[in-house]
């Protein structure tokens, strides 16, 4: 069916709005110094911090998010709806508000942070651990929602057959349920990691911006444009790196899903 021509103009505007800023970014890259910009000590520190905290946050999301996703997917419609709403909150919350919420809970005078500080002298904010907590908070919904949809879609028929063949609950979960939703699990994990390494707002407020401790790539890019830390050229180079990561992730997910379908 031929589409109305009037659709093409706004669609082109939308596409331009998505693509042109990327073109602008690429145009600012100084290709001749790209290597040295990327491999400057500050840039490498930020890169390593982002990747390591992002990886830890992703592992935490997997350990506690997969069970949550399974439970939501197998709950009654009403319970699932309530739980899904709760999970979605960090996704739609402005990240700065998320950071404020984390401080209110885990800060030195926070709901949990204060007794913890008084008992042990440990304060979470402005530590690398705080970066991980902030990243986990904002990226968990990506994993849980992706996975929950996949589990719900896969249904219970295979699980029921497995049970009648003699498989206990854990065996059904680990040998049937999770392998069946492997494409969803991979997609959710990748999205979760991507969101974690790109996290800025909650980290800035809850973990601060201390080089080598909490200054992840997004914070390093932001700081560079305030004239501190890495050079602006390094910031553009790091941005390019994040962009390449995003393209690889999106492309990789597509080909994985197509493989999974085959």
């Amino acid at each position: 069916m031929t589409l109305p021509r009037g659709l093409y103009i706004p669609a082109l505007v939308a596409l331009a709005l998505l693509v042109l800023p990327i073109v602008g970014l690429i145009s600012r890259v100084r290709w001749e110094t790209l290597g040295s910009d990327l491999f400057s000590a500050e840039a490498l520190t930020a890169l390593w911090l982002s990747v390591s905290t992002g990886a830890v946050a992703t592992v935490i999301c997997l350990v506690i998010g997969v069970p949550l996703a399974v439970i939501i997917a197998r709950s009654s419609i009403r319970t699932a709806s309530v739980l899904r709403t709760i999970v979605l909150i960090p996704l739609v919350l402005p990240p700065l508000v998320g950071g404020l919420a984390l401080i209110s809970l885990l800060g030195r005078s926070g709901l949990v942070g204060q007794p913890l500080y008084e008992a042990t002298g440990f304060s979470l904010p402005y530590t690398t651990a705080a970066v991980v907590v902030a990243q986990t908070f904002v990226s968990m919904p990506f994993l849980v929602i992706t996975l929950e949809g996949a589990i719900r879609t896969s249904g219970v028929s295979h699980e029921q057959i497995a049970a009648t063949l003699g498989a206990g609950r854990w065996r059904v979960l680990t040998r049937v349920t999770l392998p069946l939703i492997l494409p969803g699990l991979v997609a959710g994990t990748v999205l979760c990691f991507a969101r974690a390494i790109g996290e800025f707002g909650a980290t800035a407020l809850f973990a601060g911006n201390s080089e080598g401790v909490t200054r992840t790539m997004p914070l390093a890019i932001y700081t560079a444009f305030n004239g501190v830390g890495v050079s602006q050229d390094s910031a553009v180079a790091l941005s390019l790196l994040l962009l390449v990561c995003a393209v690889v992730i999106v492309g990789g997910m597509r080909s994985w899903r197509e493989d999974a379908v085959r």
Binding site: A162, A163, T164, L165, A167, V176, P179, L180
Partner: protein
């Protein structure tokens, strides 16, 4: 529930999707039961409850005299019941190779990996798919997938195998082979089985006994032959190829003043009265009559103690026992469907009445051509073969008076 040393005894009460299933059944060890019924009758729900996939709301399930479930009190989980389930879709685990699918059951029950794999390999040889051991399920045809699913179910060595329309999604080419395999394996292993099906032909081959469910309750039961020849429920009758006509039952007395046979065409129902205008029996006799009225036409039956005036009722008759004429008869039929199979032609009327005759007779009926939809012919059901069955829903009572001219 009958106490039985070996075999399955179940009284299943489960409410599901607007149907309350309340069924008692008993299958001796090694016995084969078929459960027939229309869509939504509760057949699959019954199987799921027996397998432990749905908790009972009432009743109990007992296998070899061990209580597997007593509603609200005791419940053995599905993986400890030794009750297998084979679905109409193969539902092979797509992430496992064919051989690992079959090994899944033995492995889950604690056999070593080596034992499970060699058992699976034996099964693959038995079903002629040893060369596809490492294939993924999606690389097999539908028939091959179902064979693997059957092997997987048997490899788990269930005491009871529940078969939920296992041939329904197979094409005509692969279904007979899979059916044969099921028959052979059930006989060889002596596994107790319960088959859910829409097809009486499946029941013939895969069951010794049948129950028919409607709205969650058993409405008919017996051996497959018995259901095929003397169905007690319209669904069973339709399954067995009987013509099924729904109408309202009227009873009364016809006073006979001639020796002419009494036929339905001589009776009409008007303003709630059955009026017999013909003559029956010997002069002076009073003949009790029963009529199934459908619109302005009637089928003549014999009075039935289960039926009262005004009851909704159903007449069933094998189409081969309905005579057809182009010029006269008891029932004026406007054909809605003409289908031929195996040298016979079946003519269906909008009311549900049907007749069956040879192709030659069908051609001579309509001047050399085969009858077609829209043609009008006359049906005359053989009264001795017409059976009238009550239905649950009764229509309001209609006072009926039968008079003669």
């Amino acid at each position: 529930m009958n106490a039985r040393a070996r075999g399955l005894d179940a009284h299943v009460v489960v409410h599901r999707a607007d149907v309350t299933v309340d069924v008692e059944l008993s299958v001796a060890a090694g016995g084969r039961l078929a459960v027939l019924g229309h869509n939504g009758a509760g057949k699959s729900t019954l199987l799921h409850a027996i397998a432990g996939l749905l908790p009972l709301e009432g009743g109990a399930v007992r296998l070899n005299d061990v209580v597997l479930e007593h509603a609200g009190a005791h419940r053995v989980l599905p993986h400890h019941r030794r009750i297998g389930l084979l679905d109409q879709k193969a539902r092979l685990f797509p992430h496992l190779s064919v051989v690992r699918n079959i090994a899944f059951g033995p492995r889950s029950q604690g056999r070593t990996r080596g034992e499970s794999m060699s058992l699976a390999q034996e099964w693959l040889e038995r079903i002629g798919l040893a060369h596809r051991a490492s294939a993924r399920p999606h690389e097999l045809s539908g028939g091959q997938q179902q064979r693997v699913a059957i092997a997987r179910a048997f490899a788990a060595e269930p005491e009871v195998l529940l078969l939920d329309e296992p041939l329904a999604s197979l094409d005509a080419e692969s279904a007979p082979g899979v059916r044969r395999m099921l028959v052979d394996e059930l006989a060889r292993t002596g596994t107790t089985s319960i088959l859910v099906t829409h097809d009486l032909a499946d029941a013939w081959q895969l069951a010794d006994d049948c129950i028919v469910l409607s709205d969650g309750a058993v409405v008919d039961s017996g051996a497959p032959d018995q259901l095929a020849t003397a169905p007690q429920h319209p669904f069973t009758a339709a399954l067995a190829g009987f013509a099924v006509v729904r109408g309202v039952w009227h009873e009364g007395t016809a006073h006979v003043n001639d020796q002419q046979a009494f036929t339905g065409s001589q009776v009409s129902v008007s303003s709630g009265e059955a009026v017999a205008t013909g003559r029956a029996g010997r002069p002076g006799d009073s003949v009790p009559v029963g009529l199934l009225s459908v619109g302005h036409q009637n089928l003549v039956g014999t009075p039935d103690a289960r039926l009262a005036d005004g009851d909704a009722a159903i007449a069933v008759i094998a189409p081969a026992n309905v005579m057809v004429s182009a010029v006269t008869g008891e029932w004026r039929a406007t054909l809605t469907e003409v289908s031929s199979r195996g040298g016979r032609v079946r003519l269906d009327d909008a009311s549900g009445l049907a007749a069956e005759l040879s192709i030659e007779d069908a051609r001579s009926l309509t001047g050399g051509r085969l009858p077609a939809s829209g043609d009008t012919v006359w049906f005359t059901p053989a009264p001795e073969h017409l059976r009238v069955l009550p239905v649950r829903e009764t229509s309001p009572m209609v006072p009926v008076r039968v008079i003669t001219d």
